[in-house]
């Protein structure tokens, strides 16, 4: 596949050529009749799965089917926070695998995903928050994940614009800090994986919506789409907010509900916030992008919704929280707001593995926090698809856990937030 290698030299060379010689990032091919593996969903997770299938397992007769444009789902709508300081061993190891992949991703993909390890603070506002922070940071350190506990005075020193007044309604008592956490350029992640997968032979097919499954005996044989039927040996469903819809088409049920989750950005301003600050208690998340806009994450809407938009009270509350935490931003103006559809599970942890239908695999339930898992999720899901058995890192995340009761409850302690 003719992929132009990206580098400062190729950039200079192309500049002389008025940038007329760049190859395509991906080919936009017509779908073939049959693939060994079809990945439904061209978000970061689906594309990463395809990439690692080809790269790590040599499975290259693969198509990624995307109903819209790739990266247009939650991948293109999230606040891009990356961290791995999860509480429970199972999650911690999975997200830490992802973190390690992030640390080499730009080089691996030859596409700068602008992974920026500016650190992530999770604020504590109550004694219980601080207990949870202790518990999580201690667990992280024993699991080999970087983390420290920072008290309010130290926080103030590091982030002078943060309001640490004791007279706040919910004063900041301290925070956990993961120095290796940060953000990444979300679109670049989708494009980089797509380009990487494409160059290894994967077909990326956009504007192709899966509307049904074809079965032979009790095994999957392919999918129906608006661009015709396409045969497949195996099918991986990686459609985030639409997981229940696809599961329903395939004939099984999921413990998933889809909710609107909103985010918003300000006008671009000169750098003032060089790290990521998150607060569950007052419900606001904020970082500043490399373009200068403040990226703010709002809360989740309580109701089910596939509308990619949510209720205004959620925005009001998020910005009230931001103003409470950062009173200096009050006069900064918000530019745009939008919503995604997040697939939440009862234990705030993903489901990765076999489905009840033979040949169909499911990767979903990342809810409000799966962007950070993009490479790791693709990595273990590719393994699961290629080997017909889970990678040790996703073993615990099977659909069966909802029957056995072996949930991995990331709710209270760490998992709710992005």
């Amino acid at each position: 596949m003719n992929m132009s290698k990206y580098s400062i030299f190729s950039l200079a060379k192309q500049a002389l050529n008025f940038h007329e010689g760049w190859g395509k990032v991906w080919r936009n091919p017509e779908p073939k009749k049959h693939y060994d593996v079809i990945i439904i969903g061209g978000g970061g997770h689906g594309l990463a799965t395809a990439y690692y299938l080809a790269k790590n397992h040599g499975v290259t007769n693969v198509a990624v089917l995307e109903k819209g444009y790739i990266g247009g789902g939650n991948t293109g709508r999230n606040t891009t926070i990356v961290r791995s300081n999860y509480l429970w061993d199972e999650s911690a190891h999975l997200y830490e695998k992802s973190m390690k992949l992030w640390e080499n991703l730009s080089q691996d993909l030859n596409f700068n995903v602008m992974f920026s390890q500016r650190g992530v603070y999770n604020l504590g506002h109550s004694l219980q928050d601080m207990r949870d922070i202790q518990r999580r940071v201690n667990a992280n350190r024993l699991n080999g994940i970087d983390g420290e506990i920072v008290d309010a005075d130290e926080l103030k020193r590091r982030i002078p614009i943060l309001n640490t007044s004791r007279h706040s309604r919910y004063p900041v008592l301290g925070a956990s800090f993961q120095p290796r956490g940060g953000t990444a350029r979300h679109d670049a992640v989708a494009w980089g994986f797509a380009r990487g997968a494409d160059s290894l032979g994967v077909d990326i097919i956009q504007q192709c919506e899966v509307s049904g499954f074809i079965r032979e005996n009790d095994r999957i044989a392919g999918v129906e789409t608006n661009r015709g039927n396409i045969g497949a040996g195996k099918v991986g469903i990686v459609v985030a907010g639409n997981s229940s819809v696809l599961a329903d088409l395939a004939g099984f049920r999921l413990p998933v509900t889809s909710h609107p989750l909103q985010a918003l950005v300000s006008e671009p301003i000169k750098p003032v916030l060089n790290t990521v600050v998150m607060s569950n208690a007052v419900h606001g998340y904020i970082s500043q992008s490399d373009k200068g806009d403040l990226v703010v994450g709002a809360g989740i809407d309580s109701y089910n919704g596939y509308g990619q938009r949510g209720s205004y009270t959620v925005i009001e509350n998020a910005l009230a929280a931001i103003k409470e935490l950062f009173p200096v931003f009050s006069r900064v103006r918000m530019n745009r707001q939008w919503g995604g559809i997040v697939d939440t599970t009862p234990d705030a942890c993903p489901i990765i593995g076999e489905s009840p239908v033979k040949g169909v695999y499911i990767n979903c339930g990342w809810g409000t926090g799966g962007f950070k898992a993009t490479p790791g999720s693709g990595y273990v899901f590719a393994h699961t698809l290629a080997k017909d058995q889970p990678h040790e890192l996703n073993q615990a995340f099977s659909l069966q856990r909802f029957s056995t009761g072996r949930l991995i409850d990331e709710h209270g302690a760490a998992g709710v937030a992005h």
Binding site: N28, H93, S106, Q107, H125, R135, V137, P268, P327, R336
Partner: protein
């Protein structure tokens, strides 16, 4: 300094000159000016540097669409980043400066970026800065330095932001001729009308129009109409108000600016007001925005929108140029030309891409000496910080290539018009899908899916007569939909009919260079997106318009593509050989124009108003006694009561000792309290709680555990049977509201056959728990009508009596293991009761204690706190409390307890921990390991949930959840701390004090 002010009147008040400062220099303008018009009046054209290449930029437009003239307003606390000069009303003393340039606007260091612009096409950063890997953070540091426009204030905002809900029948957005007419129609029908416009005055384009209405200047009609509207009782007029979001169910958010137009010293009251409007019907009369034309160096100062030029001349009496060339593809620019001539300015030529664009105006202009050069285009301009000439070429037949020689025309201003784009933003936000109109070469509002309609230019109607009639129709229809009758007396104003010729779309102006090889032809000026960038994106395979937006940043700026998007999409369509409707638009989203965080956050901030502070009847007393408070849910609870010089630990130790040795008192009013009444109350409790309730005697109390249906502990508390069919339940403080609604839910949805009523009485009762060996003496001194004898009033029972003559209920229950009574009185008398108890306890040195001591005391007894000693993964069995779980009846969560995972070996169980060195206090949240020297990852077997120094015992105690903990008694485990220290502890029973429970039974 050159003065560009014209003789004509305009709408400025020449009797009110205003002084202002721009980039450190003083200037003068007039009341009625915007910062932009005042700058132009002073011949300041260069106002900004562009974002990426730092090219000199001037003022392009006259309103919300402005991409270039972004300034920093004021300094210090009041500074405003990214204000659009075109929307800033001038006031005395205004200070503004250019953003994104260093050291200054005239010489900007980073304008060297322009030299490297070839190396920096869209998305270049995805292709580089990857080596060496370590350096990315340094590269990024530099990239970030260069990012952003204005600067954030460094100090908290002193201003106040008001917020209100509002309702109306008809909300009309935009007060141009269409909106005014709609308001008049609906208002006359006596509908409740709100009319909003983001400008300082109503009138929209009529404020600069040359047209007449009813034979008078349009401006007169505007003021008459406004007067009439103001006299209508049910009509609300909101100038300076931007409707910025159109949400579901006709919910529209409006930002009203109350004081931004006032001089700094004169601003009083709130700065802005957020209106959250529910309208039965909405009329969108938001007008249309003129499009620029995309040719080489079209971003130079001195190149402006034709409508803006006209507006500066007519509305602000400013000559933005003296020798003017016009470049257009439609007729509207001819009006500008007429205006300029009337103002005595020189129009040298009109360059029009159409063939013989004849109209009555064209003839008139020709007769006044204006050269009309048809079938031609401007291919480039000369001059950098201000243009001095334009270069013109003819078009080949077909119109997509230039031909012949370049004609250079000297001029100091180029007014351009690429046609008009209806402002369909709000319509699109409401869910209507915009549709492309080939004839008019613009997107029109789609079929409404909410109760809304568009009228006037926003509906693609570009002549005044029809704007007025569409407005009237929209007003009538909208009010009719609300049930009002059309007012027959309303008349359409009389205006002259104007005939327009067809626009000839001109998306990318043909040039002598192959696209991308000549000077940049800008599409999105704020983000420095050139036509070549869009073509590059298309060439590289970014075909979706959404990909192109994200790859090039087209439409990402503070103007959200108001200027560039349509041209950009059309250029993309051309590159992909699609038509524009196939390419489509990107998604329109709020905000229409940017809105302050302050405004959306609103006024309800600060210590007490960010979130309600719930207070008990004794709150004032606690405060007076110097209590430190803890947030528990929305409540403030006394945490501990430090005396002078005491540390928290000192205070807690004192409180705990006093309580165990004599008597303590704690405000327990915050616990949830629910009356459960009806003949099935016992049955209902049986289903809710894990244990059995029907056999509880009247006036007896029992402890219960509530589980979620997943079997995990949700809440706990003591419930008392008051009567045969009446129980009084206590919930945890945080659990009160959720538990109450949980109970209602089961009753209403699952078991409506049960005869049970629930009533919350949390707020009605104030509760003081009097705790300790001397509590009986204290309580019996205060409570009348109760026999406090140990046998007559045993542990876990309840009595009614009087306190100060007020009905009271005394419960002998204990959360500390001491003899204890909870005294409840109606909360109006709570303080009085508290003070009586304090007085009666004085001789025993009664000691008020807070939640911290309460936690210590209960931990000494091994009592759990739901939410601290449990998380969402703990069953009562894990807590070693299977005695509270009935084996015979069903209850919520029961089945879950028998799932595979809930019955497996090795679940985490609640145990006690005693540090080997009793003065070491474990951190709550400490992780427990068997071998602290194992290599990472070190397996963890549990964590510390509660931990305190116990003054009563003289050593520290802790509770922990440990894998298989109950069968590990006596084992030593290790708790590694963040600082590298490791504390060793022994697993023990979680009951540390008075294991037989004798103290509470005395």
């Amino acid at each position: 300094m050159k003065n560009n002010r014209l003789q004509g009147e305009g709408r400025i008040n020449r009797n009110r000159p205003l002084n202002f400062i721009f980039n450190g220099k003083s200037y003068q303008g007039f009341e009625g000016d915007t910062l932009a018009s005042a700058l132009l009046a002073n011949d300041v054209h260069l106002v900004a540097r562009s974002w990426k290449y730092h090219r000199p930029r001037g003022i392009l437009g006259s309103g919300a669409e402005e991409p270039n003239a972004i300034v920093q307003l004021e300094k210090g606390r009041l500074t405003v980043p990214n204000a659009r000069a075109t929307q800033v009303e001038l006031y005395e003393g205004l200070q503004a400066s250019s953003v994104n340039c260093w050291p200054g606007l005239e010489f900007d260091f980073l304008s060297i970026n322009s030299l490297f612009s070839r190396l920096m096409p869209s998305g270049f950063y995805y292709k580089t800065f990857m080596w060496p890997k370590k350096l990315w953070m340094s590269y990024e540091h530099v990239i970030r330095k260069a990012s952003g426009l204005g600067v954030s204030p460094e100090l908290p905002d002193p201003d106040r932001y008001e917020k209100t809900y509002a309702h109306c029948d008809v909300l009309i957005i935009g007060a141009g001729p269409a909106g005014l007419m709609a308001a008049l129609a609906a208002g006359k029908m006596s509908a409740r009308v709100m009319l909003v416009d983001e400008q300082s005055e109503f009138g929209g384009s009529m404020l600069h129009s040359n047209e007449t209405i009813n034979g008078q200047p349009a401006q007169d009609w505007v003021s008459d109409t406004c007067e009439e509207l103001a006299s209508m009782q049910e009509v609300k007029l909101l100038p300076r108000s931007s409707a910025f979001g159109y949400h579901d169910y006709n919910f529209v958010t409006i930002n009203e600016r109350l004081t931004d137009h006032l001089p700094t010293g004169q601003k009083t009251g709130g700065r802005e007001r957020l209106w959250k409007v529910r309208a039965k019907q909405v009329v969108l009369a938001t007008g249309a925005l003129e499009r620029p034309l995309v040719f080489a160096n079209n971003d130079r100062p001195g190149v402006m929108l034709s409508s803006a030029v006209m507006q500066y001349v007519n509305r602000y009496a400013v000559a933005v140029g003296q020798e003017i060339v016009i470049f257009t593809n439609n007729d509207s620019a001819y009006e500008t030309a007429m205006t300029l001539l009337e103002a005595g300015l020189k129009v040298i030529a009109i360059i029009d891409n159409r063939i013989n664009p004849g109209s009555s105006m064209a003839d008139q202009l020709r007769s006044e000496g204006v050269k009309i050069i048809d079938q031609s285009v401007v291919v480039d301009v000369k001059g950098s910080k201000r243009i001095n000439a334009v270069q013109v070429m003819s078009l080949q037949p077909g119109g997509d290539k230039v031909t012949g020689s370049v004609q250079t025309i000297a001029c100091d201003l180029l007014a351009m018009s690429g046609g008009w784009s209806p402002v369909i933003h709000l319509s699109s936000q409401s869910g209507a899908k915009a549709c492309w109109d080939d004839e008019k070469a613009c997107f029109l509002p789609g079929v409404p899916i909410q109760h809304e309609r568009s009228a006037g230019a926003s509906n693609g109607c570009f002549d005044l007569k029809n704007c007025l009639s569409e407005g009237m129709l929209a007003g009538n229809e909208a009010a009719q939909q609300c049930g009002f009758e059309v007012d027959a007396s309303i008349q359409l104003p009389v205006v002259n009919e104007v005939i327009f010729n067809r626009i000839k779309p001109l998306w990318l102006v043909p040039s002598m260079f192959k696209a991308g090889r000549g000077p940049k032809q800008f599409v999105d000026m704020q983000n420095d997106v050139a036509a070549s960038d869009i073509m590059l994106a298309a060439r590289e395979g970014y075909h979706s318009v959404e990909h192109v937006k994200r790859y090039t940043a087209l439409g990402f700026g503070t103007d959200q593509g108001k200027i560039g998007n349509i041209n950009g999409m059309a250029i993309l369509a051309q590159s992909l050989q699609q038509n524009i409707s196939e390419t489509g638009t990107t998604t329109f989203r709020p905000n229409y124009t940017p809105v302050t965080i302050g405004s959306i956050a609103g006024m309800n901030l600060g210590g007490e108003l960010f979130e309600p502070v719930r207070k008990t009847a004794m709150h004032g007393w606690h405060k007076q006694e110097g209590a430190e408070f803890e947030n528990v849910g929305q409540w403030k609870r006394p945490w501990y009561y430090p005396r002078a010089g005491e540390s928290m630990l000192d205070a807690v130790n004192r409180e705990c000792l006093a309580t165990r040795n004599s008597v303590g008192i704690i405000d327990a009013s915050t616990l949830g309290k629910i009356i459960i009444e009806g003949k099935d109350s016992g049955e209902f409790l049986n289903r809710l709680y894990t244990n059995a309730w029907k056999k509880l005697d009247i006036n007896k109390a029992r402890y219960g555990f509530m589980l979620g249906e997943d079997g995990m502990v949700m809440d706990d508390g003591v419930t008392i049977r008051l009567e045969e069919n009446k129980y009084f339940m206590h919930t945890t403080t945080g659990g009160a509201a959720p538990v109450f609604s949980w109970m209602e839910r089961w009753l209403q949805t699952e078991w409506p056959e049960l005869e049970v009523f629930l009533t919350s009485v949390t707020d009605h009762w104030a509760t003081a728990a009097v705790v300790g060996p001397n509590s009986r003496k204290v309580v019996s001194a205060v409570c009348e009508g109760i026999d406090f004898d140990a046998q007559a009033f045993p542990f876990m029972s309840s009595r009614e009596g009087l306190v100060n003559g007020i009905e009271a209920r005394i419960n002998r229950i204990s959360f500390s293991g001491e003899l204890a009574y909870e005294v409840n009185v109606p909360a109006n008398y709570g303080l009085q009761m508290w003070e009586s108890l304090m007085a009666a306890g004085e001789q025993y040195d009664i000691t008020p204690y807070g939640t911290e001591s309460m936690h210590v005391l209960r931990a000494e007894k091994g009592y759990v706190i739901v939410g601290q000693d449990t998380d969402g993964s703990v069953t009562p069995v894990d807590l070693g409390m299977d005695w509270v779980v009935s084996k015979v009846k069903d209850f919520i969560g029961r089945r879950s307890l028998y799932r595979e995972d809930c019955v497996r070996e090795g679940r985490k169980q609640l145990v006690g921990l005693l540090t080997l060195n009793g003065s070491d206090v474990l951190p709550e949240g400490g992780q427990i390991v068997e071998d602290p020297n194992a290599s990472i990852p070190i397996p963890m077997i549990g964590h510390v949930t509660s931990s305190y120094y116990s003054a009563n015992l003289g050593y520290s105690i802790a509770m922990a959840l440990v894998k298989g903990g109950l069968s590990r008694m006596g084992e030593t485990v290790h708790i590694p701390l963040a600082d590298g220290k490791v504390i060793a502890a022994k697993i023990s029973s979680s009951i540390f004090y008075d294991a037989d429970g004798e103290k509470q039974n005395v």
